[in-house]
Symmetry: C2
Subunit: 251 residues, 2 copies
Protein backbone atom coordinates (compact mmCIF):
# COMPACT_ATOMS: atom_id res chain seq x y z
CA UNK A 1 0.00 0.00 0.00
CA UNK A 2 1.39 3.36 -0.90
CA UNK A 3 1.61 6.05 1.72
CA UNK A 4 -0.96 8.76 1.38
CA UNK A 5 0.48 11.91 -0.05
CA UNK A 6 -0.87 15.19 1.26
CA UNK A 7 0.54 18.43 -0.06
CA UNK A 8 2.90 19.86 2.55
CA UNK A 9 1.83 22.94 4.48
CA UNK A 10 4.70 25.34 4.03
CA UNK A 11 5.64 28.96 4.43
CA UNK A 12 8.01 31.62 3.20
CA UNK A 13 9.47 34.57 5.09
CA UNK A 14 10.16 37.87 3.34
CA UNK A 15 12.35 40.18 5.40
CA UNK A 16 12.02 43.76 4.21
CA UNK A 17 15.08 45.56 5.43
CA UNK A 18 17.86 47.73 4.02
CA UNK A 19 19.40 47.57 7.49
CA UNK A 20 19.90 43.80 7.22
CA UNK A 21 21.32 44.03 3.68
CA UNK A 22 23.78 46.76 4.65
CA UNK A 23 25.08 44.61 7.51
CA UNK A 24 24.09 47.18 10.12
CA UNK A 25 21.58 44.89 11.79
CA UNK A 26 21.87 41.18 12.34
CA UNK A 27 18.73 39.45 11.16
CA UNK A 28 16.81 38.33 14.22
CA UNK A 29 13.39 36.93 13.32
CA UNK A 30 14.06 34.04 10.95
CA UNK A 31 15.12 31.45 13.51
CA UNK A 32 12.23 32.36 15.79
CA UNK A 33 9.71 31.98 12.96
CA UNK A 34 11.29 28.73 11.74
CA UNK A 35 11.11 27.17 15.20
CA UNK A 36 7.53 28.31 15.72
CA UNK A 37 6.48 26.90 12.34
CA UNK A 38 8.23 23.56 13.02
CA UNK A 39 6.15 23.23 16.17
CA UNK A 40 3.00 23.74 14.14
CA UNK A 41 3.95 21.15 11.51
CA UNK A 42 4.57 23.85 8.90
CA UNK A 43 7.87 23.86 7.03
CA UNK A 44 9.65 27.11 6.37
CA UNK A 45 10.51 26.41 2.73
CA UNK A 46 12.25 29.65 1.80
CA UNK A 47 13.30 33.01 3.20
CA UNK A 48 14.24 36.17 1.35
CA UNK A 49 15.70 39.48 2.38
CA UNK A 50 14.74 42.33 0.07
CA UNK A 51 15.40 46.08 0.25
CA UNK A 52 12.82 48.74 1.15
CA UNK A 53 11.93 49.16 -2.52
CA UNK A 54 8.49 48.78 -3.98
CA UNK A 55 9.47 46.74 -7.02
CA UNK A 56 11.62 44.29 -5.07
CA UNK A 57 8.90 43.76 -2.47
CA UNK A 58 6.14 43.23 -5.03
CA UNK A 59 8.21 40.75 -7.05
CA UNK A 60 9.08 38.66 -4.00
CA UNK A 61 5.57 38.84 -2.58
CA UNK A 62 3.73 37.88 -5.73
CA UNK A 63 6.11 35.01 -6.47
CA UNK A 64 5.96 33.61 -2.96
CA UNK A 65 2.25 33.94 -2.23
CA UNK A 66 1.53 31.81 -5.31
CA UNK A 67 4.10 29.23 -4.33
CA UNK A 68 3.62 28.70 -0.58
CA UNK A 69 0.73 28.05 1.80
CA UNK A 70 1.64 31.06 3.95
CA UNK A 71 3.87 34.08 3.52
CA UNK A 72 5.17 36.12 6.44
CA UNK A 73 6.72 39.53 5.95
CA UNK A 74 8.60 41.43 8.59
CA UNK A 75 9.73 45.01 8.62
CA UNK A 76 8.65 48.31 7.11
CA UNK A 77 5.26 48.83 8.76
CA UNK A 78 6.23 51.74 11.01
CA UNK A 79 5.42 55.45 10.72
CA UNK A 80 8.46 56.81 8.83
CA UNK A 81 9.06 57.63 5.15
CA UNK A 82 11.05 54.42 4.63
CA UNK A 83 8.20 52.23 5.92
CA UNK A 84 6.55 51.29 2.65
CA UNK A 85 5.47 47.70 3.28
CA UNK A 86 1.76 48.27 3.95
CA UNK A 87 1.20 50.52 0.93
CA UNK A 88 3.25 48.19 -1.27
CA UNK A 89 1.28 45.13 -0.22
CA UNK A 90 -1.99 46.94 -0.98
CA UNK A 91 -0.59 47.68 -4.43
CA UNK A 92 0.54 44.07 -4.95
CA UNK A 93 -3.00 42.86 -4.14
CA UNK A 94 -4.61 45.71 -6.12
CA UNK A 95 -6.69 46.96 -3.18
CA UNK A 96 -6.92 50.42 -1.57
CA UNK A 97 -5.67 51.33 1.88
CA UNK A 98 -8.39 52.00 4.44
CA UNK A 99 -8.20 53.42 7.94
CA UNK A 100 -9.11 50.58 10.33
CA UNK A 101 -11.14 51.82 13.31
CA UNK A 102 -9.87 49.02 15.57
CA UNK A 103 -6.30 49.89 14.68
CA UNK A 104 -7.02 53.54 15.50
CA UNK A 105 -8.44 52.44 18.85
CA UNK A 106 -5.38 50.31 19.56
CA UNK A 107 -3.00 53.18 18.78
CA UNK A 108 -5.13 55.57 20.82
CA UNK A 109 -4.95 53.22 23.79
CA UNK A 110 -1.15 53.26 23.52
CA UNK A 111 -0.40 56.89 22.58
CA UNK A 112 -3.46 58.65 24.03
CA UNK A 113 -6.10 60.46 21.96
CA UNK A 114 -4.06 63.67 21.77
CA UNK A 115 -1.02 61.66 20.63
CA UNK A 116 -2.62 60.47 17.38
CA UNK A 117 -0.60 62.46 14.84
CA UNK A 118 -0.51 61.75 11.10
CA UNK A 119 2.53 59.48 11.39
CA UNK A 120 0.77 57.28 13.94
CA UNK A 121 -2.45 57.20 11.97
CA UNK A 122 -0.42 55.88 9.01
CA UNK A 123 0.04 52.73 11.14
CA UNK A 124 -3.76 52.33 11.35
CA UNK A 125 -4.05 52.02 7.57
CA UNK A 126 -4.61 48.50 6.32
CA UNK A 127 -5.17 47.16 2.80
CA UNK A 128 -8.89 46.58 2.25
CA UNK A 129 -9.83 43.07 3.38
CA UNK A 130 -6.92 42.82 5.80
CA UNK A 131 -7.61 41.42 9.28
CA UNK A 132 -5.63 42.89 12.15
CA UNK A 133 -2.96 41.05 14.10
CA UNK A 134 -2.90 42.57 17.54
CA UNK A 135 0.30 44.19 18.88
CA UNK A 136 0.40 43.74 22.66
CA UNK A 137 3.61 45.76 22.95
CA UNK A 138 3.28 49.12 21.16
CA UNK A 139 -0.25 49.19 19.80
CA UNK A 140 0.57 49.34 16.07
CA UNK A 141 -1.01 46.20 14.61
CA UNK A 142 0.09 43.84 11.86
CA UNK A 143 -2.44 42.32 9.51
CA UNK A 144 -3.29 39.27 7.48
CA UNK A 145 -4.37 39.64 3.86
CA UNK A 146 -5.13 36.43 1.99
CA UNK A 147 -2.30 34.04 2.86
CA UNK A 148 0.09 36.86 3.75
CA UNK A 149 0.89 37.82 7.36
CA UNK A 150 2.39 41.29 7.63
CA UNK A 151 4.45 41.72 10.77
CA UNK A 152 6.85 44.27 12.25
CA UNK A 153 10.62 43.90 12.28
CA UNK A 154 11.26 44.60 15.98
CA UNK A 155 11.91 41.10 17.36
CA UNK A 156 10.05 41.57 20.62
CA UNK A 157 6.88 42.62 18.83
CA UNK A 158 7.32 39.99 16.12
CA UNK A 159 7.50 37.28 18.79
CA UNK A 160 4.52 38.60 20.71
CA UNK A 161 2.43 38.51 17.54
CA UNK A 162 3.46 34.91 16.81
CA UNK A 163 2.21 33.92 20.26
CA UNK A 164 -1.17 35.45 19.46
CA UNK A 165 -1.32 33.71 16.08
CA UNK A 166 -0.54 30.21 17.42
CA UNK A 167 -4.13 29.06 18.06
CA UNK A 168 -5.27 30.44 14.71
CA UNK A 169 -2.82 28.57 12.45
CA UNK A 170 -3.66 25.45 10.49
CA UNK A 171 -0.61 23.19 10.50
CA UNK A 172 0.24 19.57 9.80
CA UNK A 173 1.74 16.66 11.71
CA UNK A 174 4.82 18.03 13.47
CA UNK A 175 8.17 16.46 12.59
CA UNK A 176 10.27 15.20 15.43
CA UNK A 177 14.00 15.49 15.42
CA UNK A 178 17.00 14.15 17.23
CA UNK A 179 20.57 15.43 17.03
CA UNK A 180 23.70 13.36 17.57
CA UNK A 181 26.99 15.20 17.93
CA UNK A 182 30.50 13.80 17.77
CA UNK A 183 33.99 15.23 17.40
CA UNK A 184 34.90 13.61 14.11
CA UNK A 185 35.24 14.73 10.53
CA UNK A 186 32.12 14.12 8.50
CA UNK A 187 34.26 12.87 5.63
CA UNK A 188 35.14 9.87 7.85
CA UNK A 189 31.53 8.68 7.87
CA UNK A 190 30.10 10.16 4.65
CA UNK A 191 29.93 6.94 2.63
CA UNK A 192 28.39 4.86 5.45
CA UNK A 193 25.99 7.69 6.26
CA UNK A 194 24.78 7.87 2.66
CA UNK A 195 23.99 4.14 2.88
CA UNK A 196 22.02 4.70 6.10
CA UNK A 197 20.06 7.52 4.45
CA UNK A 198 19.09 5.13 1.64
CA UNK A 199 18.00 2.46 4.15
CA UNK A 200 15.99 4.91 6.27
CA UNK A 201 14.16 6.80 3.57
CA UNK A 202 11.30 7.94 5.85
CA UNK A 203 13.83 9.89 7.90
CA UNK A 204 15.74 12.93 6.68
CA UNK A 205 19.37 12.81 7.80
CA UNK A 206 21.31 16.07 7.72
CA UNK A 207 25.03 16.32 8.42
CA UNK A 208 26.35 19.66 9.72
CA UNK A 209 30.06 20.15 10.30
CA UNK A 210 31.30 22.60 12.89
CA UNK A 211 34.65 23.70 14.28
CA UNK A 212 35.52 23.63 17.98
CA UNK A 213 38.93 25.09 18.73
CA UNK A 214 40.84 23.58 15.83
CA UNK A 215 38.95 20.32 15.69
CA UNK A 216 36.21 19.32 13.32
CA UNK A 217 32.96 18.02 14.70
CA UNK A 218 29.69 16.98 13.15
CA UNK A 219 26.06 17.28 14.18
CA UNK A 220 23.78 14.70 12.60
CA UNK A 221 20.17 15.81 12.62
CA UNK A 222 17.46 13.21 11.99
CA UNK A 223 13.93 14.34 11.24
CA UNK A 224 10.71 12.46 10.66
CA UNK A 225 7.00 12.73 11.33
CA UNK A 226 7.07 8.99 12.26
CA UNK A 227 8.57 8.24 15.64
CA UNK A 228 9.29 4.54 15.09
CA UNK A 229 11.26 5.27 11.93
CA UNK A 230 13.12 8.02 13.73
CA UNK A 231 14.13 5.75 16.60
CA UNK A 232 15.39 3.03 14.24
CA UNK A 233 17.43 5.48 12.20
CA UNK A 234 18.85 7.06 15.33
CA UNK A 235 20.07 3.70 16.61
CA UNK A 236 21.72 2.94 13.29
CA UNK A 237 23.47 6.33 13.14
CA UNK A 238 24.56 6.09 16.77
CA UNK A 239 26.07 2.64 16.07
CA UNK A 240 28.00 4.08 13.13
CA UNK A 241 29.45 6.89 15.26
CA UNK A 242 30.40 4.53 18.09
CA UNK A 243 32.06 2.18 15.59
CA UNK A 244 34.23 5.17 14.60
CA UNK A 245 35.33 5.48 18.21
CA UNK A 246 33.46 8.74 18.72
CA UNK A 247 32.11 9.96 22.02
CA UNK A 248 28.44 10.62 21.40
CA UNK A 249 26.33 13.51 22.64
CA UNK A 250 22.59 13.41 22.09
CA UNK A 251 20.54 16.60 22.12
Amino acid sequence: MEAEVTPPINACLIIIGDEVLSGRTREANMQRLATWLEGLGIQLAEARVVPDEERAIITALNTCREQYTYVFTCGGIGPTHDDITTATIARAFGVPLVLDPRAVASLEAYYGAEGLNDARLKMAQVPKGGRLIENPVTGAPGFRLGNVFVMPGVPRIFEAMLELLTPRMLGGPARQSVTLRAMLRESDIATALAALQRQHSRVQIGSYPFMRDDEQGVALVLRSAEEDHLVQAKEAVAALLVAQGAELVEE
Copy 2:
Protein backbone atom coordinates in the same frame (compact mmCIF):
# COMPACT_ATOMS: atom_id res chain seq x y z
CA MET B 1 24.22 69.16 -15.32
CA GLU B 2 22.88 65.75 -14.52
CA ALA B 3 24.87 63.40 -12.36
CA GLU B 4 26.53 60.57 -14.18
CA VAL B 5 24.68 57.33 -13.70
CA THR B 6 26.75 54.18 -13.45
CA PRO B 7 25.00 50.86 -12.98
CA PRO B 8 25.41 49.82 -9.34
CA ILE B 9 27.70 46.94 -8.53
CA ASN B 10 25.57 44.63 -6.46
CA ALA B 11 25.39 41.12 -5.12
CA CYS B 12 23.03 38.44 -3.90
CA LEU B 13 23.58 35.78 -1.27
CA ILE B 14 21.99 32.34 -1.57
CA ILE B 15 22.16 30.37 1.66
CA ILE B 16 21.66 26.68 1.00
CA GLY B 17 20.59 25.13 4.24
CA ASP B 18 17.78 22.97 5.58
CA GLU B 19 19.30 23.55 9.02
CA VAL B 20 18.60 27.29 8.82
CA LEU B 21 15.04 26.78 7.54
CA SER B 22 14.23 24.27 10.29
CA GLY B 23 15.38 26.75 12.95
CA ARG B 24 18.10 24.42 14.22
CA THR B 25 20.91 26.76 13.22
CA ARG B 26 20.95 30.52 13.42
CA GLU B 27 22.11 31.99 10.12
CA ALA B 28 25.61 33.31 10.62
CA ASN B 29 27.17 34.46 7.35
CA MET B 30 24.82 37.12 5.98
CA GLN B 31 25.89 39.99 8.18
CA ARG B 32 29.56 39.20 7.65
CA LEU B 33 29.14 39.16 3.87
CA ALA B 34 27.03 42.34 3.90
CA THR B 35 29.64 44.24 5.90
CA TRP B 36 32.47 42.99 3.70
CA LEU B 37 30.60 44.00 0.54
CA GLU B 38 29.78 47.48 1.94
CA GLY B 39 33.49 48.03 2.48
CA LEU B 40 34.13 47.17 -1.17
CA GLY B 41 31.41 49.51 -2.46
CA ILE B 42 29.18 46.60 -3.46
CA GLN B 43 25.60 46.55 -2.27
CA LEU B 44 24.05 43.33 -1.05
CA ALA B 45 20.77 43.68 -2.91
CA GLU B 46 19.06 40.45 -1.89
CA ALA B 47 19.55 37.31 0.15
CA ARG B 48 17.70 34.02 -0.05
CA VAL B 49 17.64 30.89 2.05
CA VAL B 50 16.71 27.77 0.11
CA PRO B 51 16.55 24.10 1.11
CA ASP B 52 19.08 21.44 0.07
CA GLU B 53 16.98 20.60 -3.00
CA GLU B 54 18.19 20.68 -6.56
CA ARG B 55 15.20 22.44 -8.06
CA ALA B 56 15.08 25.16 -5.42
CA ILE B 57 18.81 25.83 -5.77
CA ILE B 58 18.74 25.98 -9.57
CA THR B 59 15.73 28.31 -9.63
CA ALA B 60 17.31 30.75 -7.17
CA LEU B 61 20.73 30.56 -8.81
CA ASN B 62 19.58 31.10 -12.37
CA THR B 63 17.31 33.99 -11.39
CA CYS B 64 19.94 35.73 -9.30
CA ARG B 65 22.97 35.31 -11.55
CA GLU B 66 21.08 37.08 -14.34
CA GLN B 67 19.96 39.86 -12.05
CA TYR B 68 23.03 40.76 -9.96
CA THR B 69 26.71 41.51 -10.59
CA TYR B 70 27.83 38.80 -8.19
CA VAL B 71 26.16 35.85 -6.50
CA PHE B 72 27.55 34.18 -3.39
CA THR B 73 26.31 30.81 -2.22
CA CYS B 74 27.08 29.29 1.12
CA GLY B 75 26.49 25.77 2.36
CA GLY B 76 26.27 22.31 0.87
CA ILE B 77 29.81 21.79 -0.47
CA GLY B 78 30.93 19.17 2.04
CA PRO B 79 31.45 15.43 1.63
CA THR B 80 28.08 14.00 2.75
CA HIS B 81 24.98 12.85 0.84
CA ASP B 82 23.11 16.06 1.65
CA ASP B 83 25.86 18.25 0.17
CA ILE B 84 24.52 18.77 -3.34
CA THR B 85 25.54 22.36 -4.07
CA THR B 86 28.54 21.69 -6.33
CA ALA B 87 26.79 19.12 -8.51
CA THR B 88 23.68 21.31 -8.70
CA ILE B 89 25.65 24.36 -9.78
CA ALA B 90 27.35 22.34 -12.51
CA ARG B 91 23.90 21.33 -13.70
CA ALA B 92 22.59 24.90 -13.57
CA PHE B 93 25.51 26.01 -15.78
CA GLY B 94 25.26 22.92 -18.00
CA VAL B 95 28.88 21.87 -17.45
CA PRO B 96 30.38 18.58 -16.19
CA LEU B 97 32.16 18.09 -12.88
CA VAL B 98 35.91 17.57 -13.12
CA LEU B 99 38.44 16.53 -10.50
CA ASP B 100 40.67 19.56 -9.90
CA PRO B 101 44.30 18.55 -9.28
CA ARG B 102 45.01 21.63 -7.13
CA ALA B 103 41.99 20.82 -4.99
CA VAL B 104 43.24 17.25 -4.60
CA ALA B 105 46.64 18.62 -3.54
CA SER B 106 45.01 20.95 -1.03
CA LEU B 107 42.96 18.13 0.51
CA GLU B 108 46.01 15.86 0.54
CA ALA B 109 47.97 18.52 2.41
CA TYR B 110 45.24 18.62 5.05
CA TYR B 111 44.21 14.95 5.37
CA GLY B 112 47.43 13.23 4.23
CA ALA B 113 47.74 11.09 1.08
CA GLU B 114 46.39 7.98 2.81
CA GLY B 115 43.41 9.98 4.09
CA LEU B 116 42.01 10.76 0.63
CA ASN B 117 38.88 8.62 0.65
CA ASP B 118 36.01 8.95 -1.84
CA ALA B 119 34.09 11.35 0.35
CA ARG B 120 37.05 13.73 0.53
CA LEU B 121 37.74 13.46 -3.18
CA LYS B 122 34.14 14.55 -3.77
CA MET B 123 35.25 17.91 -2.36
CA ALA B 124 37.93 18.17 -5.07
CA GLN B 125 35.31 18.08 -7.83
CA VAL B 126 34.60 21.43 -9.44
CA PRO B 127 32.31 22.36 -12.34
CA LYS B 128 34.37 22.71 -15.52
CA GLY B 129 35.66 26.28 -15.82
CA GLY B 130 35.50 26.90 -12.09
CA ARG B 131 38.47 28.63 -10.43
CA LEU B 132 39.33 27.55 -6.89
CA ILE B 133 38.89 29.72 -3.81
CA GLU B 134 41.49 28.56 -1.33
CA ASN B 135 40.40 27.23 2.08
CA PRO B 136 43.10 28.08 4.63
CA VAL B 137 41.27 26.23 7.41
CA THR B 138 40.34 22.70 6.33
CA GLY B 139 41.71 22.33 2.80
CA ALA B 140 38.39 21.83 0.95
CA PRO B 141 38.19 24.73 -1.51
CA GLY B 142 35.33 26.83 -2.76
CA PHE B 143 35.21 27.99 -6.35
CA ARG B 144 34.14 30.78 -8.64
CA LEU B 145 32.21 29.99 -11.81
CA GLY B 146 31.17 32.94 -13.95
CA ASN B 147 29.81 35.54 -11.52
CA VAL B 148 29.00 32.93 -8.86
CA PHE B 149 31.18 32.40 -5.77
CA VAL B 150 30.53 29.04 -4.13
CA MET B 151 31.49 29.03 -0.47
CA PRO B 152 31.10 26.75 2.55
CA GLY B 153 28.57 27.29 5.33
CA VAL B 154 30.91 27.01 8.32
CA PRO B 155 31.33 30.66 9.37
CA ARG B 156 35.01 30.45 10.20
CA ILE B 157 35.87 29.08 6.76
CA PHE B 158 33.44 31.44 5.02
CA GLU B 159 35.17 34.41 6.65
CA ALA B 160 38.65 33.15 5.87
CA MET B 161 37.70 32.83 2.20
CA LEU B 162 36.30 36.38 2.10
CA GLU B 163 39.65 37.67 3.37
CA LEU B 164 41.40 35.90 0.50
CA LEU B 165 38.92 37.28 -2.04
CA THR B 166 39.23 40.93 -0.93
CA PRO B 167 42.04 41.97 -3.29
CA ARG B 168 40.40 40.20 -6.23
CA MET B 169 37.00 41.94 -6.11
CA LEU B 170 35.97 44.80 -8.35
CA GLY B 171 33.84 47.16 -6.32
CA GLY B 172 32.58 50.72 -6.53
CA PRO B 173 32.85 53.87 -4.44
CA ALA B 174 32.15 52.83 -0.85
CA ARG B 175 29.18 54.46 0.88
CA GLN B 176 29.83 56.08 4.18
CA SER B 177 27.33 55.99 6.97
CA VAL B 178 26.61 57.64 10.25
CA THR B 179 24.13 56.52 12.89
CA LEU B 180 22.32 58.78 15.35
CA ARG B 181 20.47 57.15 18.22
CA ALA B 182 17.93 58.69 20.55
CA MET B 183 15.38 57.39 23.04
CA LEU B 184 12.26 58.70 21.36
CA ARG B 185 9.43 57.23 19.35
CA GLU B 186 10.00 57.48 15.62
CA SER B 187 6.38 58.53 15.17
CA ASP B 188 7.29 61.79 16.99
CA ILE B 189 9.67 62.79 14.21
CA ALA B 190 8.33 60.91 11.17
CA THR B 191 6.80 63.89 9.36
CA ALA B 192 9.82 66.15 9.87
CA LEU B 193 12.16 63.33 8.93
CA ALA B 194 10.32 62.72 5.67
CA ALA B 195 10.84 66.42 4.84
CA LEU B 196 14.56 66.10 5.58
CA GLN B 197 14.80 63.04 3.32
CA ARG B 198 13.25 65.06 0.49
CA GLN B 199 15.72 67.94 1.07
CA HIS B 200 18.73 65.63 1.25
CA SER B 201 18.05 63.38 -1.71
CA ARG B 202 21.72 62.33 -2.18
CA VAL B 203 21.64 60.74 1.27
CA GLN B 204 19.58 57.70 2.18
CA ILE B 205 17.97 58.10 5.60
CA GLY B 206 16.76 54.94 7.33
CA SER B 207 14.78 54.94 10.57
CA TYR B 208 15.02 51.83 12.75
CA PRO B 209 12.99 51.57 15.93
CA PHE B 210 14.18 49.47 18.83
CA MET B 211 12.99 48.66 22.35
CA ARG B 212 15.14 49.17 25.44
CA ASP B 213 13.49 47.95 28.61
CA ASP B 214 9.99 49.24 27.93
CA GLU B 215 10.99 52.38 26.12
CA GLN B 216 11.04 53.00 22.40
CA GLY B 217 14.20 54.29 20.78
CA VAL B 218 15.20 55.01 17.22
CA ALA B 219 18.41 54.63 15.25
CA LEU B 220 18.65 56.94 12.25
CA VAL B 221 21.15 55.67 9.70
CA LEU B 222 22.37 58.05 7.01
CA ARG B 223 24.25 56.67 4.01
CA SER B 224 25.88 58.34 1.05
CA ALA B 225 28.87 57.96 -1.24
CA GLU B 226 29.34 61.78 -0.97
CA GLU B 227 30.80 62.94 2.30
CA ASP B 228 29.75 66.61 2.09
CA HIS B 229 26.13 65.64 1.53
CA LEU B 230 26.35 63.17 4.40
CA VAL B 231 27.68 65.79 6.81
CA GLN B 232 24.97 68.30 5.88
CA ALA B 233 22.20 65.74 6.31
CA LYS B 234 23.64 64.57 9.62
CA GLU B 235 23.61 68.11 11.00
CA ALA B 236 20.00 68.58 9.95
CA VAL B 237 18.87 65.29 11.49
CA ALA B 238 20.82 65.98 14.69
CA ALA B 239 19.13 69.40 14.97
CA LEU B 240 15.73 67.73 14.59
CA LEU B 241 16.47 65.26 17.38
CA VAL B 242 17.81 67.93 19.71
CA ALA B 243 14.74 70.10 19.03
CA GLN B 244 12.69 67.11 20.28
CA GLY B 245 14.63 67.24 23.55
CA ALA B 246 16.42 63.97 22.83
CA GLU B 247 19.83 63.05 24.13
CA LEU B 248 21.85 62.16 21.10
CA VAL B 249 24.31 59.29 20.68
CA GLU B 250 26.41 59.15 17.53
CA GLU B 251 27.96 55.88 16.37
